[in-house]
Symmetry: C2
Subunit: 290 residues, 2 copies
DNA sequence: AGCATCAATCGATAAAACCGATTTGTAAAA
DNA sequence: TTTTACAAATCGGTTTTATCGATTGATGCT
């Protein structure tokens, strides 16, 4: 059992196709086939079912894959630690972020980059659900999102700031002079909301359910800039945290009445995983900008 | 970076001597030297300082070794899981135990072995300190001991039963008719106690300190059967949990007065590590015997 | 039936892990 | 200081194995 074989196995598991996996790994199909077989021989159990010309993962393969991933990850974390030890002249930060936190992220990336121009970024926008999935697969170092209802034990949470939930309107709206608005009043309006999966949408539907109200949802959409365009048209309203529309023109926001109508921005990372020095510095800059 | 190299590295780290490490690994010193060098080249950092003819671990080596161990352990845990998946016809249980729990261990091992004769045992008697050290190095699957003052976050603790602290005397002792005894009275007696490192000794000295008393410790000894022989002579007394001397002949015990004069037997294992099926079954049998 | 696809297998090659012998460098002993 | 002993590094050669391309065999699709 070698790390090489574990890598091969995981790629084959991911694609469930030896030929494609071999291409992806830049080895021949024959090599991959042999190495998987060798691993199976050593483990004395099949990792894949060969059903005709297609393969599926066995129960053993499914159970084993978690450990294989952990084994590789630990080795990589060790490697990463050594790189960091030298300096911040190399490396990559992978950050997941919800659209609402775009502004603070952008500021931080710009400032970080002037100080450490060699560090690469991978920035992934997505729903909380998608980001947490990626975090769990070690595809992201850290994510920035709002607090979740369910907290997971192996995550580390750091609160950043709170932001009120607001009704977002076109600037020239009938409601433009209101200082605040109730959920009941909102339930009379035609709404365009972020798609399910966005934590904001979950939060809103929970809030309405608690008040035994039903929002009029005319549009669900999974792209926030487009959502804002729709709102600017004046035909619909939406509900977002105030932070989301900071620096946006042509729209205004009205705080929603009621306690607990605020959300807390969070940094989420995996507890037991070594935190890259570059990530630490990045987060320090982020916090200093608040 | 391959698991093979990580294993070589860890053995070299352990022995801090390439020649001995190579022997222990059944490879030549030249191979070990080359493989370590190759690993260092890949990691672009030295893992060992070569000071003359002797080697020491660098800071990088020390930091990296934890990840190397984790990487290997995760791979091994995956392997173990697959073995367990098949059956309980193979495998090994490594148990650490303090002498006090010898009786319950023995019963469990006997019963387990009649059901699963293929499973091997490695049984290590030692002080709590020694056992916890071994548990942390993945040399033991589980340990049986009394509760510690300090609990560690990455351990899982399962309470088994409580046992009173007792003064142990030769059966034909001047104290034989006493139903209980105070710490103050004990402080007048000549004691033989288990060596430092035994959790019982720690517990006793704490108890005396709280009562501002000083025990008369005539003998410290790191072997419990011998300790009991000394007590049987009638020249000394000792303090042990009642469980420890269950089924021992020629000695009697007198409960010690005062609250908190009991200890709780514990199963301790590492939280995040996969628990072997055989270990689970073993512990189930152990609990059923209580 | 014929074709396309994919994993397994075969034989050959290139890479690498490995070994024994030797060298180099240091520390301890004389 | 010189000698001796020891331990890691290096060298050249051998063995092992990872890899490849080509082929085979089995399956699903048209």
């Amino acid at each position: 059992m070698e790390l090489r074989q574990l890598k091969y196995f995981l790629k084959a598991k991911e694609l469930l196709n030896f030929t494609e996996a071999a291409n992806s790994l830049n080895i021949s199909q024959s090599t991959l086939s042999q190495q998987i077989k060798q691993l199976e021989d050593e483990l004395q159990i099949s990792l894949f079912n060969r059903i005709g010309k297609r393969i599926t993962l066995t129960e053993a393969g499914a159970l084993f894959s978690g450990f294989a991933l952990q084994s590789i990850s630990k080795a990589n974390e060790g490697f990463q630690l050594l790189k960091d030890l030298n300096n911040l002249n190399t490396g990559k930060i992978a950050i997941g972020v919800t659209y609402a936190l775009r502004d603070i992220l952008t500021q931080t990336v710009i400032e970080f980059n002037t100080k450490y121009p060699e560090i690469e970024f991978e920035i992934v926008f997505g729903t909380s659900k998608e980001l947490i999935e990626k975090l769990n697969h070690f595809e992201l170092d850290v994510i920035l999102t709002f607090e979740e209802i369910i907290t997971e034990n192996h995550f580390k949470y750091q609160a950043l700031f709170t932001s009120p939930m607001t009704l977002v309107t076109a600037t020239e709206s009938a409601l433009k002079n209101k200082k605040s608005i109730s959920l009941k009043d909102i339930s009379k309006l035609s709404l365009a909301l972020p798609a399910k999966g966005y934590s904001t949408t979950q939060f809103i539907s929970d809030a309405f359910a608690k008040s035994k109200l039903h929002p009029k949802v005319a549009i669900e959409i999974n792209d926030i800039p487009t959502l804002l365009e729709l709102v600017k048209s004046g035909n619909w309203y939406t509900i977002l945290t105030q932070t989301t529309i900071k620096n946006e023109k042509g729209i205004s926001c009205i705080p929603i009445e009621g306690k607990n109508m605020t959300r807390t921005a969070m940094i989420i990372s995996i507890k037991e995983v070594y935190e890259k020095k570059a990530v630490k510095v990045f987060l320090d800059i982020l916090k200093s900008l608040l």
